[in-house]
């Protein structure tokens, strides 16, 4: 075991995957020689050569479109979109093409492709470097959507995503690339390197897609979260002094409904937390499913804590980011209902 940042864990997953399977190719803007603006692909070009890890023109459409062709050929491309906010030019290629290739060709052509992208806010990225577009992808039949919250998961889930036979959208919460973040922006951050949560097995392993993790056992309330919000929710639960169960979804599609429903049936209460804007966000899907499956076990309305329905502001970032204070208000409201 070693302590790694999430960036190092992702790099490690790519390295091991490329070493195990020569069909794995990695490309995107700045990912080759320089190793990516977040350094997730550092050293890969040197180790595996320019034809397996290379820089691309600034064309997200081109990156994903070319990757689909490569996947159809039989390679396993794992491409990087520099920021999730830039994925929209490639959106048509992802939703109309990658997601449906297997279906429309009845399995004749397949698309084993991973699209990695740093997502989420809290880094003063303003409205073009802070978005959480997961709901845009979870709505699309044929895609899998993954959001890790720890370095160990980032490695295991990415390895599983690369080996998956279907297209996977892999959203990396960049706020926790270097260390867990509890939502208190004015507190020092403990980096993963000094944090026990930064422990990562250096050997090959996979974390299966479609399995949630229970991060905290509890009886009084269920909190559903993913990515950065897992850590913020954990802090909020501790600060509120509530005996809550915190579930880290890890994979949004396919969703581990079994773990979710068992928890809510046990606690009778549910709070959903995500950074993305609230309206039509993934929290709405979670709320609808929990309501349908657990209605007679619920003792309070399901509540959502989410980003406001505005673009992500730059200087007012800490009023936008769903921090512990907002989560605690929701936890208390649900407990008192």
């Amino acid at each position: 075991m070693a302590r790694m940042t999430m960036i190092e864990a992702i790099q490690n997953a790519l390295d091991i995957s490329m070493g195990r399977d020569e069909r794995v190719v990695v490309f995107g803007e700045d990912v080759g020689y320089f190793g990516g603006v977040f350094r997730c692909t550092a050293g890969l070009q040197k180790k595996y050569g320019r034809s397996r890890c290379f820089d691309t023109p600034i064309s997200e459409l081109g990156i994903v479109g070319a990757a689909i062709g490569m996947a159809a050929y039989g390679l396993k491309p794992c491409v990087e979109i520099q920021f999730a906010d830039y994925v929209y030019p490639a959106y048509d290629q992802i939703v109309s093409e990658a997601a449906r290739l297997r279906y429309r060709s009845a399995g004749g052509f397949t698309c084993p492709l991973v699209v990695r992208m740093p997502a989420g806010g809290g880094i003063y990225g303003g409205q073009t470097h802070s978005q959480s577009p997961e709901a845009l992808f979870t709505h699309v039949a044929g895609l899998k959507v993954v959001v890790p919250s720890t370095p160990a998961d980032a490695k295991g889930l990415l390895t599983a995503a690369i080996e998956d036979p279907d297209p996977v959208i892999f959203l990396e919460p960049k706020r926790i690339y270097n260390g867990p973040f509890d939502g208190h922006h004015d507190r020092p951050i403990v980096p993963w390197k000094k944090h026990e949560g930064g422990e990562v097995d250096e050997n090959y392993y996979k974390t299966p897609l479609g399995k949630a993790a229970i991060r905290r056992q509890g009886e009084g309330l269920t909190v559903l979260a993913y990515g950065t919000m897992v850590h913020v929710a954990m802090a909020a639960v501790e600060e509120a002094g509530i005996d809550a169960e915190v579930i880290d979804l890890r994979t949004l599609v396919p969703l581990d409904t079994k773990t979710i429903m068992e928890s809510v049936r046990k606690t009778g209460r549910c709070v959903i937390v995500h950074e993305a804007t609230q309206t039509s966000g993934f929290g709405a899907e979670l709320a609808a499913q929990v309501q349908a499956e657990c209605f007679y076990h619920l003792e309070a309305p399901i509540m959502r804590v989410a980003g406001w329905d505005t673009p992500y502001p730059h200087s007012q970032e800490w009023d936008y980011f769903p921090g512990p204070a907002r989560i605690i208000r929701a936890l208390n409201a649900v407990m008192e209902a």
Binding site: I68, G69, Y73, R104, G108, P165
Partner: protein
């Protein structure tokens, strides 16, 4: 202060509209054999002129002339004629089937048969086309069964795509025919990626990308050119300029630029224009471009100058936007008649043999159609089970889809 007139917007218009006299005097057509044939490893900078002429092999007497002649054997020429006749007959039967309500939709190739039928002959087993909806000739020329094509058009139980795709959106990996998308131009960059993958893998296979004149306006076209140029991908970038994108004439996508082929110049990609109704010219140019790709010399753009004689689809009425006589006035003639005339001029063919072949092809198509219709059509006979609807979304069906399939009763 300078005084200016108010600005006004330029919106290109075709020269003629319904009621007018067809006029193709602006289409500059060099005589057959007039355009030079560079070596395949010629520096693209030295052949920029090829993006502005029209490479032609067949002259008015049906003779093959000039430096692009001689790429096909007699047997290949006869096979080409048969493929084009088969495609034309198949189209006519399927158009009629759509009118009879046996399927929802159809798109024919009338006037453009040479483009796909000739190009397929330059490819090898394992190469991959990324076609649009008007290249079924690639399948017919590669020996894909007519009855399977019809099963797809009818969405019947034997449809290899299980009733999920619009009619004519065929797919066959074995026949080098990538699954067709309804979102235009997306396949162009995918073809480049496929070709890059072949190069990455040290393979010897090449890709062929296909697009229409109108869809060259899509961003995907430009992304494809950037990637093809940057990585020198082994791909032939085909542009079928059939003059019409539904009701929109080619000048709307092209604007004031010289030609569609010339768009390759900014990327350093060799670009050639060819008479798309000249089977021999299409084959010669396709062969030249494929050879470049195979020799790792990179991509080539080929613009096929042709004319969509039929409607865009069964949902289209071309008389609403262009003169009815326009297709007859197209100066590059009919590809089937031109190849037939060439074979007759060579003493390889006769009117009698042509009639005989037409009858044979007709019988073959009818036989296939009966076989397909015995299985089913869109609204009758045996159709794929709704259970199939839930398959192939993912390799392994996830729990939520299994639950939904059960809800649907399967």
């Amino acid at each position: 202060m300078d005084q200016h007139e108010p600005l006004s917007l330029n919106v290109p218009e075709p020269e003629v509209r319904p009621g007018g006299q067809p006029d193709f005097s602006s289409v500059k057509i060099p005589s057959a054999g007039a355009i030079r044939r560079p070596d395949v490893d010629e520096d693209p900078e030295n052949m920029r002129d090829l993006a502005f002429g029209i490479i032609r092999v067949l002259n008015r007497n049906g003779e093959a002339v000039g430096p692009w002649a001689g790429t096909l054997t007699d047997g290949e020429l006869r096979a080409g004629l048969e493929h084009m006749l088969t495609l034309r007959t198949y189209d006519a039967r399927m158009m009629n089937a759509q009118r009879q309500g046996k399927t929802s939709f159809y798109m024919q190739h009338l006037g453009e048969e040479a483009v796909s039928c000739a190009f397929q002959q330059v490819l090898r087993q394992g190469d991959m086309n990324f076609p649009t909806y008007r290249q079924a000739g690639l399948l017919i020329s590669s020996g894909y069964p007519l009855v399977t094509m019809m099963n797809q058009v009818y969405s019947n139980e034997a449809d290899p795509l299980r009733g999920r795709q619009l009619p004519i959106m065929y797919s066959s990996k074995e026949h080098g025919f990538f699954s067709i998308s309804g979102n235009l131009a997306t396949q162009y960059i995918q073809a480049v990626g496929w070709a890059m993958a072949s190069a990455i893998s040290g393979d010897d296979k090449i890709a062929a990308a296909w697009i229409g004149d109108g869809s060259t306006a899509e961003s995907d076209f430009h992304a494809a050119l950037v990637f093809a140029s940057t990585y020198k991908a082994p791909v032939v970038l085909n542009i079928v300029n059939n003059q019409w994108a539904i009701s929109t004439f080619q000048g709307i996508a092209r604007g004031g630029s010289g030609t569609f082929a010339a768009r390759g110049h900014g990327f350093g990609i060799p670009a050639l224009r060819v008479d798309g109704n000249d089977f021999l010219a299409v084959h010669a140019v396709g062969k030249w471009a494929a050879e470049r790709a195979r020799r790792n010399l990179g991509p080539t753009i080929v613009e096929y100058v042709t004319y969509r004689a039929g409607g865009h689809s069964t949902s289209d009425d071309p008389s609403a936007y262009r003169p009815k006589e326009e297709s007859d006035a197209w100066p590059l003639g009919d590809p089937v008649l031109r190849l037939k005339a060439h074979l007759i001029a060579r003493g390889l063919w006769s009117e009698e043999r042509h009639k005989q072949l037409e009858a044979e092809v007709h019988d073959r198509v009818i036989t296939a159609q009966k076989e397909a219709e015995a299985i089913g059509t869109l609204h009758t006979g045996r159709r794929p089970s709704p259970r199939d609807m839930f398959e192939d979304v993912y390799e392994e069906m996830p729990p939520h889809l299994i639950a939904q399939r059960h809800q649907a009763g399967y």
